[in-house]
Amino acid sequence: MIPRYSLGERANHWLGSLAYIYLLMTGLAFWSPYLYWMAAVVGGASTAQFWHPWFGLIFTVSLFWTFANWRRDMSIDDNDRAWAKAMPEYIQNRDDKLPPVGRFNYGQKLFFWGMLYSVILLLLSGVVLWYTETLPWSLRYVRYAAILIHASVALVTIGLFLIHVYMSTILEEGSFSAMVHGYVTRAWAWTFHRTWYYEVTGRSRPEK
C-alpha cells in the first residue's frame, strides 16, 4: 500500500465536506420551498439562517488550507491539456487511451480550481447577504448582484459536488478509503495516477 493523503489532508477534507453538507442542506432549504424541510433536519430554519454563514467561513478556511497545500500539485500543464482533449475517453471509461497523469488528473484540477474560485465568490456575496440590513438603500444594487451571484455560484458548486461524490465513492473504487485511511494499492496508483506512482515508488519518470 502506498500513502496518498496525510492525516492533515484527510482531516481537512472531512472538515470541509461536513461544512459543505450543512451549507448544502440549509442552502437548498432557502433555495426551494419544496426543500424547506431540510432546514428542520439540521436544527430549524431560523437556526439555519444563523449558522449558514459561519459554516461558510469554516468551508472557506478549509479550502484556503487545501489551496496552500495543493496549489503546486494542482497546477495545469501541457500533459493536462493533452488529457483534456481526450476527456471523452475518460468519461466513457476508456482510460487506456489517455496520457498518464500525476497525483491529480485534469478533472480533479478543474474541480479544485472551480471550487476555489466559487468559494471566493460565495464568500463575497455571502457577506453582503449576511449583513444585508446594514447596506444603505443607495447601495441596493450590491444586494441585487449578491443574491444572483450567491445562488448561481452555489448551483455550480452543487454540480461539482455531485460529480465529485459520484466519482470518489461509486465510480473509482479505492478512492473513498484513500481519503479515510490515507493509503491506496499499488495497482490503484498504477492504473489511475501512473506518473505519481513512479515518483512515489522512488524511481525516475519514464522517458518521454
Binding site: 433555495w31 431560523s46 444563523f50 443574491i147 455531485l162 459520484y166 465510480l171 479505492g174 492504473t191
Partner: protein, 296 residues
C-alpha cells in the same frame, strides 16, 4: 395579526396551494394619503406606535421636522419632509406619510424563502408573520420602497401591517383614526381611487397644480396605499418615492428562470450520473504487468 387565515391568497416560500384560492371577496381595502392636505402633525406616527405597542424613538435631527431618516423596525410610519422650490420661485414644504405600500404584487413576498413568513390577504394587506421569519433579510432586497427593517434583538423584520388586526374586526387603521385634517382616508380600492382622482382633478383645475395626480404604481400591479401628489410626474421630490417601482429584475430572475434552470440542472445531474453508471459502470484498477512501464 388577522384571524382570517382562510382569506390568504399568497404565502411566501410555500410549496403547495393557498387556502384563499378561488375566494370571491367583495372588495379590497385601500388607504388614501392626500399629501396636499397633510399638515405634518405626526399624529399618525404616534397612533401607530401606540396601537402596536412601541415606545417613542429618539429623534435624529437633520435640519427638518422629520423624526428620523427612514422607517425603522419599531417605527413603521414616518412623515418625510422636503422643501421644494417651484418654477416661480415660491417654496413648498412637501410632506408625505411613508410606510409600507401593500403592493398587489409584493416584492418582499416574492423574495422571502421562509414558509408563511409573509402572507397576502384577499383584502390586499401584505402582512409579516414574524413567528415564521428566519431573519434572512431577502425581503429587504425585494422591496422597491425600502420598507422592511431588521431588528437586531428579535432577529426578524418588521413593517406596517395596515392594521390588519383592526381591519379584521371592522375598524379603520390607527393612523386614519388619529389624523386631524382628514387627509387620510380608508375604504375600498375603487372608492379611494375615485376620491383620489376627484381631488387630483380639483388640484389641476382649481388650485393650479397642473401636474397633480394619483400615485398607484402599475409596476407592482398597483398598491393598497395610494397618494395624491401635487406633482405626480416627480414623485422623488416627496422624500425618495420611486418613480416606477417594480420588483427588482435580479429578484425576478432569481425566483424565475434561475430557479427553473437550477432545479433542472440538479435533477438532470442526478439522472445523468445514474445513467452514466448504468451505461459505463465503475472504473476498475488493473493489475500491474511485469513490465510496469518505468525506465530507471
Amino acid at each position: 395579526m388577522s384571524q382570517a387565515s382562510t382569506e390568504i391568497i399568497r404565502i411566501s416560500g410555500h410549496a403547495g396551494s393557498v387556502p384563499g384560492a378561488g375566494l370571491n371577496r367583495e372588495f379590497q381595502v385601500c388607504k388614501l394619503v392626500d399629501t396636499t392636505t397633510c399638515i405634518g402633525c405626526k399624529a399618525c406616527e404616534v397612533a401607530c406606535l401606540e396601537w402596536n405597542g412601541y415606545t417613542f424613538s429618539e429623534t435624529t435631527f437633520d435640519n427638518t421636522y422629520q423624526t428620523m431618516p427612514e422607517t425603522a423596525w419599531n417605527y413603521w410610519n414616518l412623515i418625510k419632509f422636503n422643501e421644494h422650490e417651484r418654477a416661480d420661485g415660491s417654496m413648498m414644504l412637501l410632506m408625505r406619510k411613508d410606510q409600507c405600500m401593500h403592493c398587489e404584487d409584493p416584492g418582499c413576498l416574492a423574495a422571502c424563502p421562509a414558509d408563511g413568513a409573509i402572507v397576502q390577504y384577499a383584502n390586499g394587506i401584505v402582512d409579516f408573520q414574524e413567528q415564521h421569519c428566519i431573519g434572512c433579510g431577502y425581503c429587504i432586497t425585494g422591496c422597491p420602497f425600502n420598507i422592511p427593517k431588521f431588528s437586531p434583538e428579535a432577529r426578524k423584520v418588521f413593517k406596517c401591517t395596515l392594521c390588519s388586526d383592526r381591519v379584521a374586526v371592522g375598524l379603520e387603521p390607527a393612523c386614519i383614526k388619529a389624523c386631524p385634517t382628514g387627509c387620510l382616508h380608508f375604504g375600498t380600492k375603487p372608492e379611494m381611487k375615485a376620491l383620489a382622482e376627484t381631488r387630483a382633478e380639483q388640484l389641476r383645475n382649481v388650485s393650479g397644480f397642473t401636474d397633480a395626480g394619483v400615485y398607484d404604481p402599475p409596476g407592482v400591479s398597483g398598491t393598497h396605499v395610494i397618494y395624491v401628489l401635487h406633482d405626480a410626474k416627480n414623485p422623488e421630490l416627496y422624500g425618495g418615492l420611486p418613480n416606477d417601482p417594480h420588483i427588482p429584475y435580479s429578484v425576478r430572475l432569481w425566483k424565475g428562470p434561475l430557479k427553473w434552470l437550477g432545479n433542472f440542472a440538479i435533477i438532470g445531474g442526478l439522472v445523468g450520473l445514474a445513467w452514466h453508471y448504468m451505461r459505463y459502470g465503475p472504473k476498475k484498477e488493473e493489475p500491474i504487468p511485469p513490465d510496469d512501464g518505468r525506465r530507471v
